[in-house]
């Protein structure tokens, strides 16, 4: 590991502690890794610089492989083992070659109906034009398939692609960088406030078999421009799906953006995702991650505040039941003075579900006058549900305001009793209290129809209708 000063010269973020597995150790899913690697040349469309980037990522993936539970960053989340158990080499390589048969009618409850938005639908990683619509003018925002953007917007694309999400420590990001062909490239030119939101839907359709999908998004948000972007993940069919999604977001000076990640996949869905955000001076990011279901889900939200007066708001809600396992890792990396990060993650855990929260705040030596706040609140509804929560603050500057806190408890009996003495049934009172708990996160979603859609799902989950 290099010194801190060395690290500062790298644009992307490197955890302070190197946490990669030792090469000698037997790692899970090695066969899957080998199969993927042997198929690399065949799978590539990339050329030139892009190919070089991908080849480097491939080497790194070969080195890192899939993280085992011995890897500190993945110690509670056996995603690699689940992949090993769920997929054969054959299944990985032939996945996503089946025809796309999903229809608009099947997606009626998922896709927004009334809202004026740019809607892009990807089924098993492939862009499905018939289900999508783009309405914003091209001079206001460029929205392009990832696979096309590397040609049509080559200079910009190459300038930013794989510049922020580090392949050095995370095997999933390395795999994604090497293999992902599909996703969305968005560029908001300087000074544009995009009026209509961009709503991305990534659907795993397992009707024809298991799916294994790498998705890659790159959002370049220009100086003084504004945009709202959502990513929603859904599953169809009754087979196992695996999605590995990496999104890089570069917010230039004075840019303001909202980013929502909604996960409502099946109980068999495996998901790893990294959202890597790089912020310049005076920029503001508003991120909300909502997870409603999934077998094993791992989200990384890493924000690098690499200039003065940046603001990063990070909200998260996981509403889990059954055997759902959701792991949220976040990093607020304060690299320069006078920036603010504010984080609130909440979990409601029912059944035998498991939650993991790890929130890192780095305040680098230069980052004086940093304000960094973090809070993690959890409600366990059963004795079987569990949460592992770990705030991790690493602070090298001395003039900063940082705070963190974590609470875990049950529904408050006093609150329950109070509402019942006003005539609410126990069930209604419970639902109201849980909804109120969730609301503090949900209210940060500023795309109205998306918010309403989530309200509906949350209401159904709590068996209650909230007007």
């Amino acid at each position: 590991m290099g010194s801190i000063t060395d690290l500062l010269h790298k644009k992307y973020l490197i955890p302070m502690k190197q946490v990669i597995d030792k090469p000698s150790r037997k790692k899970p899913a090695e066969k899957l890794k080998e199969a993927l690697i042997s198929n690399f040349d065949q799978s590539q469309q990339a050329q030139g610089n892009l190919l070089t980037v991908k080849q480097n990522a491939l080497k790194q993936f070969e080195l890192l492989g899939f993280p085992s539970l011995k890897n500190e960053e993945y110690k509670y989340t056996p995603i690699a083992r689940a992949l090993e158990k769920s997929f054969t080499e054959e299944e990985i390589l032939t996945s996503n070659t089946t025809p796309i048969t999903l229809t608009a009618a099947q997606l009626k409850d998922i896709l927004p109906q009334k809202i004026e938005a740019n809607v892009l639908v990807f089924v098993n990683g492939r862009y499905t034009e018939s289900l999508s619509k783009l309405i914003s003018p091209k001079e206001e925002i460029v929205i392009e398939e990832f696979s096309k953007a590397c040609e049509t917007h080559a200079p910009l694309f190459e300038k930013h692609f794989a510049q922020y999400a580090s392949i050095e420590t995370d095997g999933f990001t390395a795999m994604n960088t090497a293999f992902a062909q599909q996703g969305v490239f968005i560029h908001v030119p300087k000074g544009k406030a995009v009026e209509k939101p961009v709503m991305l839907y990534f659907i795993s359709d397992t009707t024809h078999g298991k799916t294994f999908t790498n998705l890659r998004n790159l959002f370049v948000i220009g100086e003084n421009s504004q945009v709202k972007i959502s990513e929603s993940f859904y599953t169809f069919g009754k087979e196992i799906s695996y999605t590995n999604a990496v999104t890089e977001i570069m917010a230039d000076q004075q840019a303001i953006f909202s980013y929502y990640k909604i996960e409502s996949e099946s109980d068999l869905a495996l998901h790893t995702g990294t959202t890597q955000i790089y912020q310049k001076r005076n920029s503001i990011s508003n991120c909300t991650t909502v997870t409603l279901s999934g077998d094993i889900i791992r989200n990384n939200l890493n924000i690098s505040l690499d200039d003065e007066y940046c603001e990063a708001n990070m909200f998260g809600l996981s509403l889990l039941e059954g055997n759902h396992h959701v792991d949220n890792h976040t990093i607020a990396d304060h690299r320069k003075p006078r920036s603010l990060s504010n984080e609130l993650y909440k979990n409601v855990l029912d059944g035998s579900s498991k939650g993991v929260f790890n929130g890192k705040i780095y305040v680098r030596p230069d980052a004086q006058k940093t304000n960094a706040f973090q809070s993690n609140m959890n409600i366990l509804l059963t004795d079987e549900a569990s949460i592992k929560t770990k705030p991790q603050l690493e602070i090298w500057a001395d003039d900063v305001k940082c705070s963190h806190g974590a609470t875990t408890g049950q529904i408050d009996n006093e609150q329950l009793f109070y509402l019942r003495t006003r005539g609410l049934s126990e069930e209604d009172a419970r639902a109201l209290l849980l909804y109120a708990f969730a609301l503090e996160v949900l209210e940060n979603i500023k795309i109205k129809e998306l918010r309403e859609q989530l309200d509906k799902i949350v209401a159904a989950r709590l068996h209650k209708n909230f007007e």
Partner: protein, 247 residues
Amino acid sequence: MLIIKDLKASIEGKEILKGINLTVKPGEIHAIMGPNGSGKSTLASVLAGREEYEITSGSVEYLGNDLLALSPEDRAREGIFLAFQYPVEIPGVSTTNFLKTAINEIRKHKGQDALDAVSFLSLMKEKMKLVEIDQSLMSRSLNENFSGGEKKRNEIFQMAMLEPKLSILDETDSGLDIDALKVVSNGVNKLKTKENATIVVTHYQRLLNYIVPDFVHVLYNGKIVKSGTKELALELEEKGYDWIKAA
């Protein structure tokens, strides 16, 4: 309306109420006074249905039915209201927000149609005037960062909205300055009819200058040791509770 007979209640094996007898008729105001730890708040809680208390003997008849068999929500729907000594804070739930559900649950119980949004709001406006409560409190998280006075006003406001038959005010005067006390008392008095009854639980006599009781009972060590009229309260104020304890 309410007939309590030989009521005994304990919590975690400790007996708090040791045989309470009390009868309340429609239109009456009863004050229950007593020193700290005498069981006043326990009595209020037991009547509202707090489940932590175990009823070890006795009965409570309310409007001819067995009150103790009802859940807290059914008691509320049947017209019992408890104004809490320490109203809880509920982040994310506003007064407006839960009262609408509450009122409509009670209306449903009575076989009435649900109130629509417009009627609900106009009802709120009318009742807000009664306790001089500010509109802004209605949409804020319940009791969160409310002052002591605001919390108590909000309790009486809810009482006004729910129009109970039997109201139990648990130390509503604690934490109130004299001005707020007058406002709250005035609200309670305006809500008084010949049909409804009120039980005022208090440590001090001052509240009873404004909410004038028909009967005053002194609770000590889990029992009502003395009953009388409003003059008894004045006597207590003057002599303190030691006089009762000694007796």
